[in-house]
Each structure stands twice: as structure tokens, then as C-alpha cells.
Symmetry: C2
Subunit: 190 residues, 2 copies
Amino acid sequence: MAQRPAGARRAEILRAAAVLFAERGFHGVTIDDLGRAVGTSGPALYRHFPGKEALLAAVLIDVSERLAADARARAAAEPDPREALRAMLRGHIDFALTEPALITVHDRELGNVPEPERRRVRRLQRGYVEQWVAVLARLRPGAGAPVLRAAVHAAFGLLNSTPHSAGELPPERMGALLLEMATAALLAES
Amino acid sequence: MAQRPAGARRAEILRAAAVLFAERGFHGVTIDDLGRAVGTSGPALYRHFPGKEALLAAVLIDVSERLAADARARAAAEPDPREALRAMLRGHIDFALTEPALITVHDRELGNVPEPERRRVRRLQRGYVEQWVAVLARLRPGAGAPVLRAAVHAAFGLLNSTPHSAGELPPERMGALLLEMATAALLAES
DNA sequence: CACCCACGTTAACGGTCACTAACATCGCCG
DNA sequence: CGGCGATGTTAGTGACCGTTAACGTGGGTG
């Protein structure tokens, strides 16, 4: 049997699962679909995950952790809030353009994650939002936290729309457009 | 049997279905769920719709038609493109705040609509986007149609994020915030 | 009043799906 | 080289789900 680095199969399954979940939704994908997507058939997945829900949970936890960690690193590296915001925007946009399936699953399928992991994902997502709010608060001292939170959520909606308008523009053009639109939106006074 | 205006039951079913589909996704809702939500049980729905997919199609066609018709009316009533854009934004925002379930289903479940109706929904959606592009083109003569289309999709993502951040702000504050953010985003040069 | 039709009901059927059981294969390690 | 753990395979199995069948009922109409 072809030997490969430990966990490679597991990562391959997670990647394929994200694509299928993004395309058809959690309940629209069968275990056999998932197996076929990685070249095995159906029940082989139970060697790597205890069940379908656990697989979804692993995808969501992975995405949430990557987003939060990336934002933390970028924010810490830029003392100027304006530059920190730009860096965080570039990070999120890069993620959305590179892995549209992960972004899609991330904001659609939380409801299908079983309870202990759901709480974990929620906490990670909240932490991510709060990092954005903290940076934004320094740029807009007049605005209260609820407004900033709502603004951040709206900006995420803008950035995460990429999967739905794929192919309209080449990725670099699209990235630049999203960067300017999101910046303008986040700094607009209401 | 309680007699009510013709089609009232049908409309009631559509409304309940939109809520459930938005919450759990098309495949996450059963016929029995839908029946229970309107006080009947399961198969009674087949007196009103030929099947589950037809029900979803009816929801999507209804939403798409309302959005497109509303935008057409508002755009025609305002000769100034700046005012037309504001009016269209207010219309979409009002819709998103009033009927979050419809907005959610509208941009998630197209893939589950069977083929003849899917084409129809797509055409309606495309027409809606093109109305926005036409107005925007007058405000940003320098930008090409692909950029404007991408910008419009991104703005929809921003506006449609409301369901995910419900309760952060009172509806009027949220509406005003979305209006300013979307305006700034759509008019930002890239 | 008789009939019919709109609208429900419950029971059953056939298919699909997540998951389990039982069994095979292959590389590593003692 | 012999066994063992990791990783597959195929064949169930029980539950659920969309849909259909068969049957009830009550109000408007000829």
C-alpha cells in the first residue's frame, strides 16, 4: 500500500469534503460521494473520522483556526491600525480567493456541526470578529462596538461573496476590487 | 372546513418553507416538517404543490420576481442615477431586513431547483444584476461591465449578510449602516 | 337534498443513506 | 518469516424520507 506522510489522507479527505459540502450542502453529500472523491469507496472514511458530522466539524474548526491565527499574526505585525486593517483585509481576501469552498462552508454549515464542536467554532469566529473590531475601533473612535461588529459582519459578507461571482474577473483584479470596496465600506460613517 | 381567500394556504406554505429552508437547508427539511409548520401533517402539501422541489422553485421564483420588479420600478422613478442607486439600495435593504429567510434561500438554494425553473430564476437574477449595473455605469463611466458586475455581486453579499448578524442593531440603525456601507463600496474606485 | 370538489387524514412502499460487520491486503518490526 | 496495525473492500441493516394510495369530511351549488 502506498505509504505517505501521516495525516496526508486525512487532509485530502477534508479538502474534498469542503468542496462537496460547498457545492451541495452537508445533507446533499453522501458518504459514498465523499469516498469516491478521494478514490476510495464510502465506508473507508470511517477509518479516519468517526462519522459524517465529525468530518464537517473538522473542516469548520480548521478554517476558523486558520482565519483567527492569520488575523492575529497580521494585526500584531502592524502597529498602525490603518496598515493592520489593510493586512487583515489582504489575508481574508487571499483566503477567500484561494479557498472559496472553505469560505462557503464556513458561513453556511455551522448549524450542522454537533454541539461540543459547535461551541468551539463559535468561539473562534467570535474571536476573529473581535480582532477586526479592535482594529476598527482605533480608526473610528466615535463608533460603538455593536455598530462596528455589524459593520465587520457586513464586510465579511462582501468579501465572502467571491464564490458566487467566480470567473467574472481574474483573481488579482478581483482581489484589488474587494480590497478597495471593503476598505471604503468599513470606513464609511453612518 | 375553514374557508379562506384562495391561495392563502399556498402563500402560508411558501412562507413557512422559506423559513425552514433558510434555517436547515433544502435537504435538511422533511415534508413532515413543512406540514407541521403550517398545522397540517406531511402529505397534505401535495394538494398544493406537486413535490418538494416544486415548492422550493416557487419560493425562488417569487423572490426573484419581487426583487427584479421592485428594482425596475424604483429605477424608473428616479432619473438621477445617484438617486436611483439610493432607491434601489433602500429597496434591497428593506427586503433583506424584512424577509431574511427569503434572502437566504435566494442565494443558497438555486442548485436544488429542478431544471426548467432554474433557468427562469437565473434569468431573473441576471436581469436584476443588470439593472444595478446599468445605474452604476452612469455613475462610474470609467469602469467596464465585468468590474461593475463583480462590484454589484459584492454589494449583494454585503447587504445579504443581515441574516447572519441579526440582533446586533435595531433594524433602522442596521438599514442606515448598510446603506452607507454599500454606497461607499459601490462608488469606491479600484 | 344530492353531489362534488377542495382539502385533509393515515398507512404503506420503494429508495437512499449513515453506519456496522466481516473479511482482505500490505508494509513494517520483532 | 510471522504476526500485527493501518487501511481498504463488499455486503448487509435499520432508519428515514419523498411520494402514492385509499379513504374521510364538510361546504357550496345545481
